[in-house]
Amino acid sequence: MPPSSLLEINGIWKHYGATAALRDVSASLQAGEILALMGHNGAGKSTLVKILAGSTRQDFGEIIVQGKALPGGVREARAAGIAVIYQDLSLFPKLTVAENIAGEPAGRFSYSFRASKRIAAATLERIERHSPLLSCLDRNVEELPLAMKQRVAIARALAYDSRILILDEPTAALSLQDTDHLLTYLRKLARGGVGVIFVSHRLSDVRRISDRYLVLRDGAVALSATPAEVSGNALARAMFGEAGENAAGQPGRAVGVTRSNAPRDALTVRNATRRGEFSNISVTLRSGEITVLTGLTGSGRTEFAESLVGLRHFDCGEMRISGKLLSLSGPRSAMSHGLVYVPEDRLRSGLFVRRSTAENLVGATEHLRARFGFLIRETDRAAAGVSDFGIRCQGPHATLETLSGGNQQKVLLARWHMAGARILVLDEPTAGVDISAKTEIHKRLREWAAAGAALLVISSETDEVLDLANRILVFHAGSLVLDNLRTEMNREQLMAAMLHGSTPAEQASAPARARSES
């Protein structure tokens, strides 16, 4: 092996019961290199990450850090200079942000809250000026929205300088500017000689920073090459095999067909305001139309969405569903009006991870099919869901814990797809799902819309926004700064609106409000 190579992975095998999560995976990471680890959902990326982090043991194979074989175990890995961001974040909900970031002290008897706060503050300052987290060092992580949690996890990994940094989908819930921050920061680290392994499904991000691709397929290495060497198609083929090639090809455009036959107003919101989160929002969702709501992290999209289904309540403003004035008491009453919300934080509020995949699939919709309170069991439905959405699991009876992150997300969508609602609000529906699955999901969303449903999709990924939307809404600092048809928009306008709360055309007039107050 070349002496300069920082990390050597030799013939790693890992089995979970019957499924082989990793088959004879070998790779290497040079100092100062950013390696993009890619692959379809369930390809084995997270498993590899966990093994490198020492929190899971491989069945066979060895890991060599700077010439020394790495013994199993988290502390050992830490000692060897490996820092990790897990896909499920693995934070401590009931501890404060500061404690989460600072982690354990060096000495056995030297812990102090002040010190940990200082460390946390310093770290955050180092990563980005005026990180919003600085204002909530004393808040418990459980109180933060997903995007903030993700930032905490990132900060935790960067708190102590490490030689190898491994990030498992760090940008899944992040939006434009946060992703920018992260990527530039990673570049800086790399220049400083740190080796980075970067797991992501967002090709745009990957293309921007990675020096080399490592693609896993069904747990085996399918490709290892520099961006120069491979075309998009080759990449897709590597990830999904021949089958996937066109699936992951250029995604189909949003079709205006449904909009021709005059769309009805399904849901209208007037001057909705919620102190500290969003103000004076007026929106209309039309049946047969996909409205995409985008914005920066913390622009209050999730809050708005949750208010729509009554998980929170407007301080003022009114909401009508197909003309009827309503105030909803929660998701239940929302559903009774055919309005469904698919949350972004799937582990906390989406899935029943200790139950079987089948139950999670048919679960949330049982009451739609029950007769006089008695269940109608339809296991074939579950099986159907599994195959439709290409969910990889050890059969419908495997507990959801054992599914890969992306597959869990698919389960969540498949469930609500079965629910067949008239109005859907989906918060980051494609976070963490692979490209082919994403195009698949987009296709279904369009079918949904075509079938007359009104969709509100919250997304932070510009490509997705442009590709999926019939109508685009942009939040900035809690106010609606743009509401336009896709056809009358271009990328630049969108960017401008997201970042500055204004379109190049008319100069900033949107009431931008200081976020710090919240």
Partner: protein, 331 residues
Amino acid sequence: MTPLRSSASERLRLSIHRHETKLASLLLVLGIALAITAPRFFSSVNLALLARSMGVLLIISVGMLNVILAGGIDVSAGATLAVVSVVLVRLGNRGLPASVVLPIGLLTGATLGAVNAALIAELRIPPIVATLGTAGLFRGLLLEWTQGEWESSIPPWLNAIGSPRWGGLDASVLAAALTVLAATWILHRTQIGRALFRFGDSPIAAARIGISPRQPIYFAYISLGILTAIGAVFYAAQLGAVQGNAANGYELTVIAAVVLGGADILGGRGSLLGTFLGVLLLCSLQQALVLLHVATFWQNIATGLIVLLGVILSSAPRLHRKLLLQQSPSA
């Protein structure tokens, strides 16, 4: 710089919603009510009595707090208390010196704690089940050993420990104070202390920063065992006698005190101050009801209502917090 300033106001906001604050105000209200209806409650003698009656409970509650922080629970504390106090008194009455008996007592406590820990950490039996089992086991074996003979007198040195000095206070009060101080240091300043919180909060996340389940579990249960043993010394010393079926159901009082003190039964959250307030509430209630000449039949009712009131008060923030967040993702 910015974070510290803004977070100071943040802390204020939080401290108002702190469980301890609410509990304290509840106590204050009770105190005022008592000051009016039964001023004698605040007589030095009575306060001294209160302190003494709190000593043992507080010591053991601190141990229970450790266990609950680590996401566990121990319903065998009462049995452990009985075992240790019987061991102490029996050996003492056989004429062994304190210098021998006390270490043996502590060792017994630690051992019983270790048994619980082993069942939980090695055999992965859920804490409530494990301790439910050991409770029966310890108690049964103890009674089989004593054959129900009561130790009706205690050795003089033990008696000395229990007898009131310093204006009605006794050693148990001092010991309790020391325990709390030590615990404060351990929980807030040491790695193992923080590990308790982390493990209790999310075992998987803890494992992923290299905290093995063993460390916190053994620490929590052994410390509870030892503290229970210390409690047992004063328990026996105050009573001047012990019976094999002593402290039956005592564990429920202990748990009540700790959870009243705001400890999250799911682990990862709780405070010594809260625990202290919880103990204070229970003990002063007990005494106040008698002082107020409340008819016996109504004492339980009153106690129950106050406890429930405490529970409702303490979780008031959660009631109007935006969502219910009690449950952390178990992925």
